[in-house]
């Protein structure tokens, strides 16, 4: 682990602390941006603050931090305002209006900077794109401790954001999910919106002044998106997103100083690697999330598909028995009727045999008593549904089969009884076939 030999708590420790604070502060607000489908706002703001910086410089004639900070925050808020304005009055969609606003402001900033640069060497890079690696270099004394200025600033921002989220959690939640309802229940969703936008602007400016803009853009979206893959509850999502953000800051810095050594390079950009780590954590969450993960969803669908195939097979066997008790179908015959592929069919047949719903002999299959019970219930569901669809949904007898085919797999005993009651205990389906009884009567 090459890079770790040069590990120093005073340097690397502070870098990680700064990264974690920035990540946590941004991720906290990012949750609401993701939920409000405004994920690109962080990116837009970091680009659009340029005219604010230039204007602050031209007005105050100095490069001190405070006017620059105020100018940038104002420009950031204006970005949100203009975006909303163009979207509302101009009826342009959110993404486009954001694109129009931030690129225009950026261009305006460029023109202003060129004008300003003629006079004094204005170096927007050092204000705009601070590097997280330089964190420990600039310290202030706090209660006798030498603490990096960046850490102090980011701590304040984090605490403000945390207080805002805790105090207004209910309002934020309601106005994120249902702004109209929020307004009718008596508080101003617009006000909450702009408060959030202001904090987003402040957080973005404070963070990228300290640690660079890549981290800000990444942390606004990626950890909240990962948390969103893991939970359905807003509170849990907030906590998870902050934890994931901090974790990616830690992993990011460690990998920035170790990974390049494996290829005989020296350490690389910490902010960049923090973004990459967040990305990796997101991929893991997106793949293996317990309810919405891609893998889980895929497996759930596969299982359902197999269960339906098993249903279809036994039901088909039942119908074959019904028509011609002597016919002994083989796998090929079943597949021809069900249009199923070979592998899933043979696997499902094997499964049914093992669970003694089918008996396999000489390449042909017959239903066992348990299999026949299951099949009878399915066929009963199917034919009851057909009856119901004709009687109550006004569908014609030719079109109901497919619909009933879909519904039969999700019909339990209780629903069957209700269907039966609705169809007045008839014992024939619309095609004239008998509806099998619920219990087996020998």
């Amino acid at each position: 682990m090459g890079g770790l030999e040069q590990w120093s708590w005073t340097l690397d420790g502070w870098i990680i602390v700064a990264g974690m604070l920035c990540a946590a502060a941004t991720a906290l607000l990012g949750n609401f941006l993701v939920l409000r489908k405004m994920s690109m706002l962080g990116d837009a703001i970091t680009h659009a603050v340029l005219p604010g910086l230039a204007a602050a410089f031209l007005i105050s004639d100095s490069r001190s931090s405070l006017p620059m900070f105020i100018g940038a925050v104002i420009a950031g808020i204006l970005t949100a305002l203009f975006t909303e304005w163009i979207r509302g009055f101009g009826k342009v969609d959110e993404g486009a209006s954001m694109g129009v606003v931030f690129t225009s402001l950026f261009a305006l900033g460029l023109v202003m900077i060129v004008q300003a640069a003629d006079r004094v060497d204005l170096d927007p890079g050092c204000v705009l794109y601070g590097a997280i690696e330089l964190t420990p270099a600039d310290t202030v004394l706090v209660a006798g401790w030498e603490i990096p200025r960046v850490v102090v600033v980011l701590s304040i921002v984090f605490v403000i954001n945390l207080l805002f989220v805790i105090l207004f959690l209910k309002e934020l939640k309601l106005s994120s999910f249902d702004p109209a309802l929020a307004t009718t229940t008596g508080f101003n969703a617009t006000l909450i919106h702009y408060a959030l936008m202001t904090l987003v602007a402040i957080t973005a400016v404070a963070s990228f002044e300290a640690v660079g803009n890549i981290l800000v853009v990444a942390m606004f979206v990626v950890p909240p998106a990962a948390a969103y893959m893991l939970t359905d509850r807003l509170g849990v999502m907030l906590i998870l997103s902050v934890l994931l953000a901090m974790l990616s800051a830690i992993i990011g810095h460690i990998s920035a100083i170790t990974v390049p050594y494996w290829f005989n390079f020296q350490s690389t950009s910490t902010a960049g690697m923090m973004a990459v780590s967040a990305g990796l954590l997101f991929v893991i969450a997106a793949l293996f999330g317990p309810r919405h993960g891609v893998v889980i969803v895929f497996l759930r669908r596969q299982l359902l598909a197999w269960q339906i195939l098993a249903d279809d097979i036994v039901a088909l066997m039942y119908r074959i028995e019904e028509r011609d008790p002597e016919l002994r179908p083989d796998a090929l015959y079943l597949r021809d009727i069900l249009f199923s592929r070979p592998l899933p069919t043979s696997l499902t047949l094997g499964y049914l045999v093992r669970h003694s719903q089918l008996v396999h002999a000489n390449g042909t299959y017959t239903l066992t008593d348990t299999g026949r019970d299951r099949a009878r219930q399915l066929v009963r569901s199917h034919r009851l549904w057909e009856h119901y669809l004709v009687e109550h949904a006004g569908m014609s007898a030719e079109t109901i089969h497919r619909q009933a085919e879909q519904l039969e797999h999700f019909t339990d005993r209780e629903l069957r009884d209700r269907l039966n009651a609705d169809t007045l205990d008839t014992d024939q389906d619309p095609h004239g076939r008998p509806i099998p009884p619920e219990e087996h009567t020998p």
Binding site: G95, V100, A107, F282, H292
Partner: protein, 500 residues
């Protein structure tokens, strides 16, 4: 010191085009004082030179940016309608790691890392990976488009910055120049760049024209296109591929952010001028071309104005102009239409109020030959929740149109033409009420408000249809009200929303 910081600094200081004037060879004699940041008014000679494009470099730059504006306008129109306006933003960031990796691999193999085809290949591959990432996130997870864009943008960009930091350490790596490739150099555009932009841009436009019908369908009704057997995913990929190509050629010409604006702003501006897809693309192409032309022209005339940024600001100006003055979707037109509608609604309310008052007081002659009975202002005021000044204004306007006469004792009298118009309005109102009661099963006590909300925007054809649909109680005359008319309790007047 992070590489990113430097690149982004370069982006800001290099991108604008002092080099344009260097290219024109006129910096030398015009040394400006450091304290002077005024924009000097150029001499007539300079205007002429730019306007007539006498200078070779000016010609190249203007031609290149114009072509770029055209192709971006075309492709951007589809992207905008597909709600992919910010796709270019995400993609241009996503090309970064590809460029760095291409450079690293090429240098390790002993090739020239800065050769354009190698870097472009790298950019295209990682751009496509970015697209794949966006599509996967959007289609497989419950996250929406915006989050997919944000994730891909920031993670790829982070990876790119980390890789560029490594490129910087390479022995062979004189990576200088890499960033100008990434972040553009409008001003120093040479003929071959213009040809590249022109060639690639025109091919994109050509592909878009060939697939015009399919892409339009994709933008407006994806589901329908899918059901019609169009290869939706393939078309989507082609569209995004076109965005990638335009973005990459634009990156080199005007830089990252400014390229996005060329994809977004002209189509968004064109949207205010038309409802038709063809005209949308046409106007977007024209606006894009004009932005490129005027922007780089201005930068050529005023050497202190960076060309890339000027192109965008010209486009922004056009956007704002379109947003305000655009017909039929600009703000002014919509405001005017709303005003017109409100006036019409108010007039109809006044006439209906007068008519119903007369009707309930049995002062209405069925066969009108003499003057109609006047109605007092206070009686009218009670019928609706209108304020006195507003009511007076409405009456004044109706008087101008000779629908009513205002008598000296605060009473209002319908003129004969006013009575005719009032009868028509009341009749239509009741037709609609009857329709709601018969077909929409609205309770007759509630039907007044519901009819009120819609009757003002009914077309004559709809009225005719209603007449036929509701078998008329009597063949002539005005319908009876299906509910009791309460003159004391003013019904709630629904605010009229914008007609769209």
């Amino acid at each position: 010191m992070s590489r990113g910081a430097r690149i982004l600094l370069l982006l800001m200081l290099l991108l604008p085009g002092p080099a344009l004037l260097a290219a024109e060879g006129k910096t030398v004699h015009k040394q400006q004082s450091i304290t002077d940041r005024s924009i000097e008014w150029p001499a007539w000679e300079d205007w002429k030179r730019v306007f007539l494009m006498q200078d070779y470099n000016t010609r190249i730059v203007i031609l290149g940016t114009t072509l770029l504006g055209m192709s971006a306008g075309m492709i951007g129109s589809f992207a905008l309608l597909r709600k992919r306006a910010l796709m270019g933003d995400a993609l241009s960031h996503a090309t970064l790691p590809g460029i760095a990796i291409a450079f690293i691999i090429a240098s390790t193999l002993g090739l020239n890392g800065k050769s354009l085809p190698i870097l472009l290949t790298g950019a295209a591959i990682s751009g496509l990976l970015g697209i794949a990432g966006i599509l996967l996130i959007r289609n497989l997870t419950r996250l929406k488009e915006d989050a997919a864009l944000g994730i891909v943008l920031s993670v790829f960009f982070g990876a790119g910055i980390a890789l560029l930091s490594i490129v910087q350490q390479m022995q062979t790596g004189h990576a200088a120049g890499l960033e100008s490739f990434i972040y553009g150099k409008t001003a120093s555009m040479v003929a071959s760049d213009a040809w590249l932009i022109g060639g690639a841009g025109l091919s994109c436009v050509l592909i878009a024209l060939l697939l015009y019908k399919e892409l339009t369908l994709l933008c407006f009704d994806e589901g329908f296109a899918d059901s019609r057997g169009f290869p939706v995913i393939l078309l989507d990929t082609i569209l995004m591929g076109l965005v990638v190509v335009v973005t990459i050629i634009g990156l080199q010409a005007v830089g990252l952010i400014l390229m996005i604006s060329l994809l977004v702003i002209p189509p968004a501006a064109a949207r205010f001028w038309t409802e038709k897809m063809f005209w949308l693309t046409f106007v977007a192409v024209v606006l894009g071309a004009l932005s490129g032309m005027i922007g780089s022209g201005m930068s050529a005339i005023f050497p202190n104005l960076p060309s890339g940024a000027m192109i965008v600001l010209v486009a922004t100006t056009m956007f704002l102009f379109s947003m305000i003055f655009g017909v039929p979707r600009g703000i002014l037109v919509r405001k005017y239409r709303r005003y017109e509608l409100n006036t019409k609604v108010n007039r109809q309310h006044l006439l209906r109020g007068l008519y119903e008052y007369l009707e309930t007081h049995q002062q209405l002659p069925i066969d009108v030959t003499e003057n109609v009975q006047p109605v007092s202002l206070s009686a009218l005021e009670q019928m609706r929740s209108w304020s006195l000044p507003a009511l007076k204004k409405i009456i004044r306007r109706a008087q101008d149109e000779r629908l009513v006469t205002q008598l000296s004792d605060n009473r209002i009298q319908l003129t004969l033409s006013g009575l005719k118009e009032a009868a028509r309005v009341v009749h239509e109102h009741r037709l609609w009420e009857l329709y709601l009661i018969t077909y929409a099963e609205v309770a007759s006590s509630k039907v007044d408000q519901d009819a009120d909300a819609i009757e003002h925007v009914l077309e004559p054809e709809v009225i005719a249809e209603l007449e036929v649909l509701l078998v008329r109680q009597s063949t002539e005359g005005i319908l009876q009200s299906p509910h009791a008319i309460d003159l004391q309790q003013p019904p709630v007047t629904p605010t009229v929303r914008e007609a769209t």
